[in-house]
């Protein structure tokens, strides 16, 4: 016997039920969720044989000789690798039995967006998520923040690799200066939030602290990995948010990041984003407050935050408050219908709804509310895509049975009636996939 709680656990926290799955978690939906936080990352086997970012960057350094070589390398190596990463990520999403954990990976990956809109990111965006996000989703926010900021993908995406202290050795010799892109986005998008109480002076101070944080060159022992180049580091003390940081090389920015992670504005910003993602587009202020408190009490323990979310009565009272994101819809459809015949079908579907992984339009990542996802155009596109999936899966499923299984007690009478009266199996399956009960979570 499935319950409303099981539906909520599978959809609001998970990636949608695999066929028959709802029954399996019905006994104790909350424990089912909590177990996923304690165990090891169940999706690791999908990514085992993929190269580390240093390896990819080293290959790139070897190949950058001529324009022709770079072109060939992008075509023969980077492009296939990009799609391989996406295929693995898709398969993990369809098959995983720890879908809550996968949701958290996707949430944090979006919080710390790197995107192929900057071409050089394409080959390492997948590695970034595997190396700087995935290991930390149930750990400490400060650790994730430091790992993300040191990662070559982020250093390249937000231009820190070309930021130079104007008074550093290199800056003085070449007359070059700061690039404040990474510093600004750390404050605005990763930690304090835009109204978190920082000024342009703070942006510049953090940018100075971050000078020298770059990617190690070809002949370096850590080639392709993080490297602190003190010849680019802006000397002297810096003052960030009223706190003085004496000159201390690489440690300055690390210390600053850890302090930013403890800031009440960061707690509030992250609490708000989590609540918006898992509770409602406009989350109740009390919920945000509770999450913020938990964040501060636990020094930003993200596992504790996830457990706090599971314990929120506000979630268990109300099914269907959130509309599925475009990628969430695609994943849940394939989980319910079964994996696509060809992996490229899922890539095509994600692209069609505008959420191909690692391609968010800006460092702010994908927006997270219905008003960003449901335009007249995008709704018709959703319906068209669902109809296409229905056509491809007609032979596999009995739509009414599938509706009862996947939606459980959430299925409305009128939806079930419409499915039964539909002119064909394909039409019934299509209706199920486009019904509000399936489009929401």
């Amino acid at each position: 016997m499935t319950s409303v709680d099981a539906f909520i656990a599978a959809n609001r926290f998970g990636l949608g039920p695999k066929r028959g799955y709802l029954g399996g978690i019905a006994a104790d939906p909350q424990s089912w969720l909590l177990r996923q936080l304690g165990t090891e990352d169940g999706a690791l086997p999908y990514f085992n044989d993929l190269p580390r970012s240093e390896e990819i960057i080293q290959e790139w350094m070897q190949a950058r000789g001529s324009r022709e070589m770079r072109k060939m390398f992008n075509k023969d190596r980077i492009r296939p690798l990009f799609f391989k990463e996406i295929r693995r990520r898709n398969r993990a999403a369809i098959e995983t039995d720890t879908p809550f954990r996968e949701r958290l990976v996707r949430f944090w990956s979006n919080h710390f967006t790197v995107s192929k809109t900057k071409g050089r990111i394409r080959g390492i965006a997948g590695a970034f998520e595997r190396e700087a996000i995935r290991p930390y989703v149930a750990g400490n926010f400060a650790e994730m923040l430091v790992a993300v900021t040191k990662h070559p993908a982020m250093l390249v995406y937000l231009d820190n690799v070309s930021s130079i202290g104007p008074n550093s050795t290199v800056g003085l010799r070449r007359g070059r200066g700061l690039n404040e892109n990474l510093a600004r986005e750390i404050l605005e998008l990763h930690t304090l939030g835009v109204n978190g109480g920082y000024t342009q002076t703070d942006v510049i101070a953090l940018a100075k602290m971050l000078t020298g944080w770059t990617v190690a060159p070809k002949r370096h022992s850590n080639a392709g990995g993080f490297w602190f180049n003190d010849r680019r580091h802006e000397p002297d003390s810096k003052t960030l948010l009223g706190r003085r940081y004496p000159e201390d090389g690489q440690q300055e920015a690390e210390r600053a990041l850890r302090n930013l992670a403890q800031h009440p504005s960061t707690a509030q910003f992250i609490a708000t984003k989590l609540a918006r993602h898992f509770v409602a587009d406009n989350p109740p202020p009390a919920v945000v407050k509770q999450l913020q408190k938990k964040y501060l009490e636990t020094n930003g323990n993200l596992g504790a935050m996830a457990r706090e979310l599971v314990a929120l009565p506000a979630i268990w009272n109300k099914p269907l408050t959130k509309i599925k994101s475009p990628s969430g819809l695609v994943i849940s459809a394939f989980r319910m219908l079964g994996p696509p015949d060809k992996p490229k079908h899922m890539i095509h579907a994600l692209r069609l709804l505008g959420q191909l992984p690692f391609s968010a339009p800006s460092p702010a990542g994908w927006p997270d509310t219905a008003k960003d996802w449901i335009s007249p155009e995008s709704l018709l596109r959703r319906v068209e895509l669902m109809d296409l999936l229905a056509r491809r899966n007609t032979k596999r499923h009995d739509p009414v049975q599938l509706a009862e299984q996947a939606l459980g007690p959430i299925a409305r009478i009128e939806t079930l009636t419409a499915l039964k009266q539909a002119p064909s199996r394909r039409a019934a399956l299509s209706l199920l996939l486009s019904s509000p009960e399936f489009q929401r979570r």
Partner: protein, 398 residues
């Protein structure tokens, strides 16, 4: 004064009760005027697009990013245009294009997301209003609505979001859904306001865009890619030129956040300006039949720093540039209260100061082009904008 809430409730009641049934006859809207808003996301560098060559400080401050001045297009004694914008040069010469310089949103913020929010919500500050000013304006221009506004591209940009129904168009990649499916969904969505409204508006938009564009094949692909701007511009032009088409459209174009390797005569920025120029020229060409009634307005969320940064690019700044284009534009000039690039005139010691306000620019267009009374503009569309400074001189031919 009508409160915002009353305004919204009134408008949404209209939207929900309108009979948006499939096969709805597509009738002409009740205005001949055409307006296209092009939103350049990321912060276009106005100082590179329209170099103020007459400012004695310019060439020193811009060291590293300068185009050779004989390689730019002269606009007047003080201003020039990047040569990548050559495709639209002719409109300036014929008096159908004006450049607005040193303009910005009312709030000084270097955040893309806040600056875009203010640009689009029409308030004095970010996040003060939930809907977009153009959507509110549409509700005033034509109460019966639903056939006036058009979002071109996959998403509805925030400036067009709100309670007034709008149409949208993006190139299709898979076959449209069968009618019976959409009819059944119409019933299933009745209790779900978000899906219900989107489906109704979407079907109505399909009827309109289908009747104008028919089966013509258009380029597909990622519509967020700046390279697709011309495709979107072509569609917008055709959909607005048609009698039974829309009257007001918004198009977005990205790729302007040039923090690194911005380039000068060639490079990233030059490439994007080229795409913009070509797209605007395409749009203008398609709007030829209604050119006399057309205003195209190109805006961005902020300008960029005056000096080059450490990565041969520019960081987020303040004053930027806007373009007005169309047969109804009083053009052939650069409209600016030029603040000068003297060190003591720079905003925060680093940015071109902003001396006119994007709200005032939009207000002028809405007032002179669509005859919306100033009282309504200041009450319903741009609240608290009374003191907003417009660019100098006449902008719209009336």
């Amino acid at each position: 004064m009508t409160t915002r809430r009353e305004f919204l409730i009134g408008a949404s009641a209209t939207a929900l009760s309108s009979t948006a049934v499939p096969g709805l006859a597509v009738a002409a809207a009740n205005t001949k005027k055409r307006f296209v808003l092009v939103v350049l996301r990321g912060g276009m560098d106005g100082l590179a697009a329209f170099p103020p060559l007459g400012d004695p400080n310019y060439s020193d401050l811009r060291d590293g990013l300068l185009q050779a001045s004989d390689n730019t297009i002269a606009l007047d004694q003080n201003f020039a245009m990047h040569k990548s914008l050559t495709p639209i040069q002719k409109y300036y010469r014929s008096g159908d294009m004006a450049i607005i310089h040193a303009i910005a949103v009312p709030q000084r913020t270097r955040s893309h997301f806040d600056a875009q929010n203010v640009l689009e919500n029409g308030a004095a500050k970010a996040h003060m209003l939930q809907d977009g000013w153009l959507n509110r304006a549409l509700g005033v221009i034509d109460k019966s609505a639903g056939r006036l506004g058009l979002a071109v591209g996959y998403d509805t940009p925030p400036v067009m979001r709100g309670s007034t129904p709008i149409a949208s168009w993006a190139p299709a990649r898979i076959p449209p859904s069968p009618e019976h499916l959409l009819n059944s969904l119409g019933r299933l969505y009745q209790a779900d306001p978000i899906f219900n409204r989107a489906l109704k508006e979407g079907r109505r938009a399909q009827a309109m865009t289908g009747s104008v564009l028919g089966d013509t094949k258009m380029k597909r692909g990622n519509m967020r890619n700046p390279g697709r701007f011309k495709t979107l511009a072509e569609a917008a032009g055709r959909l607005l030129a048609a009698d039974q088409g829309a009257r007001v459209a918004v198009i977005e174009m990205g790729g302007w956040d040039t923090h690194a390797n911005q380039g000068a005569e060639a490079g990233r920025l030059a490439r994007n300006l080229g795409l913009l120029g070509n797209g605007l020229n395409e749009l203008a060409g398609r709007l030829k039949p209604v050119w006399r009634d057309t205003v195209i307005c190109v805006v961005t969320e902020f300008g960029r720093t005056v000096r080059m940064n450490g990565s041969k690019g520019t960081d987020h700044g303040a004053g930027g540039a806007a373009i007005l284009l169309g047969g109804a534009v009083a053009g052939g000039r650069v409209a600016t209260h030029w603040p000068s690039l003297r060190q003591d005139a720079l905003f925060g010691g680093r940015d071109l100061a902003a001396t006119s306000d994007t709200r005032a620019l939009f207000k002028t267009i809405m007032h002179q082009h669509f005859d919306i009374p100033n009282g309504i503009l200041e009450r319903k569309i741009f609240p608290d904008s009374k003191g907003a400074v417009p660019p100098p001189g006449k902008l719209v031919r009336t």
